[in-house]
Amino acid sequence: MRPKAALAQVLRQDRGRLLAALVARTRDLQRAEDALQEAAASALVHWERAGLPASPQGWLLRAALRKAIDGYRRDASLSRHREAMAALAGDEAAEPDAQAIPDERLRLIFTCCHPALEQKTRVALTLRSLCGLTTAEVAAAFLDSETAMGQRLSRARAKIAGAGIAFRVPGPEDFPDRLNSVLTTVYLIFTTGYVAGPEAGADLCEEAIFLARLLVALVPDAPEVEGALALLLLTHARAAARVAPDGAALPPAAQDRALWDMTMLREGERLLETALNRRSAGPFQIKAAIAALQSATPIDWPQIVLLYARLHAFEPTAVVRLNQAVAVAEAGHLEAALAGIEALGSELDAYQPFHAARAHILARCGRTDAARSAYGRAIALAVTDADRAFLAARLAALE
């Protein structure tokens, strides 16, 4: 393999692991990033000249450790870093090989998802640090400019170092909350991809699944972690069927099941069962259970209504109430569903799915005029063409 291709492959596969190992030693995300970047540039030159090293990962780590030491030497306040430099020099002399690089990625992900960082920053930093996306790729996921995203990432690394956000897995008293922050970040990466559409967003959805798998491996026997991976798999298994050939978004019940990835769906179901058997419910397990029920025939809507009620105890939000009202309507109780939806109007007035759900239920209640104006509001707020096409088709069917 050509050195350039080999380097790209190593970075694609092991960048997160190498970065985490470097942060464990430098205790500084920015220094670790810079050192790894310089090491990668140096690898191109050396590997081109001398051929691939026996362990490209070990070579990169060693080179990055040297670059980190150089970085400290260039620093004006050199005396403060003597301890860090001595530790780096010791690691560098030990000639790390790929197998011996300890996996520090769990500490890195808890650091990147620290609640003292803004939510969007947690998502961006996790994509950059753990998934190895370039700054340009992270910027594209948010439709931001590369410059703005680069500044956001730099500010985040500076805050982690400056504010003393520790590079460690939190202690037992903080663990459940902090784990939820990590899982929420992974879920947001997934939903960002989901909203972008089955093709444009596939990479982000797969990055989220990669992270969830990593967490299942690094935090074993944790039902919420298993529940989160199950939720992503159960949702992603239906990706190819989400949009009709004419571009309209389809709910699970209307999808062509031949397009579902049954292997992925079954894996999600098995994981969910493992998680539920641990008898410690949580929001991700409940969402996964709802996703699993939506893949069954016929769909057990009364059971979904109950699950949304349980979810509301963990996440008391208007969006959960909205989803519950939709399930109530699907269970056949239209007037009760409408009453539930109308109560959310002031909170969700700017939320497209609210108007879409309200329009649908009004139409089923036979209130065609009210439904027509609600569809109009939903179409005005729709972000994707698929949503617009779906809503327009529903509106046309009213006439």
């Binding site: 620290h114 003292a116 400056g162 504010a163 956000i165 520790a166 939190p170 903080d174």
Partner: protein
């Protein structure tokens, strides 16, 4: 690391003096003055008199100007501070969460610059 915890609240948001709630709150502040064993040690801390006693000073073109009141009109005012020593931000945040002002106002946690 050293952290400065500044306490902000709207005037009158805390329990009124003379009530049992006020006494309970003062006990909490006194306890925090001992530090939090295993989490953070107390270096300094004071409560401030009300904003109506504040004077803001600035110097422009060599001339001192003073103004009655705090620098900016904000709903929440600085009411006191703690200076603590803690291992990391998580420990500092745990101390901050125990400050009564976190319930009726907010607490800003800032690392102290090291030279």
């Amino acid at each position: 690391m050293k952290y400065l915890l500044t306490l902000y609240a709207a005037p009158g948001a805390e329990p009124a003096p003379g009530t049992p709630d006020f006494d309970a709150m003062m006990d909490e502040y006194m306890t925090l003055g001992q530090g939090m064993p295993g989490v953070a040690s107390f270096l300094a801390g004071e409560g401030l008199q009300g904003v109506e006693t504040a004077t803001t000073l600035r110097k422009r073109a060599g001339k001192v100007e003073t103004m009655d009141g705090p620098f900016a009109e904000t709903r929440e005012h600085l009411g006191g501070f703690y200076l603590i020593e803690a291992a990391d931000l998580d420990a500092a945040l745990r101390f901050a969460a125990a400050i009564p002002a976190a319930r009726y106002g907010s607490v800003e946690v800032r690392p102290v610059m090291e030279y």
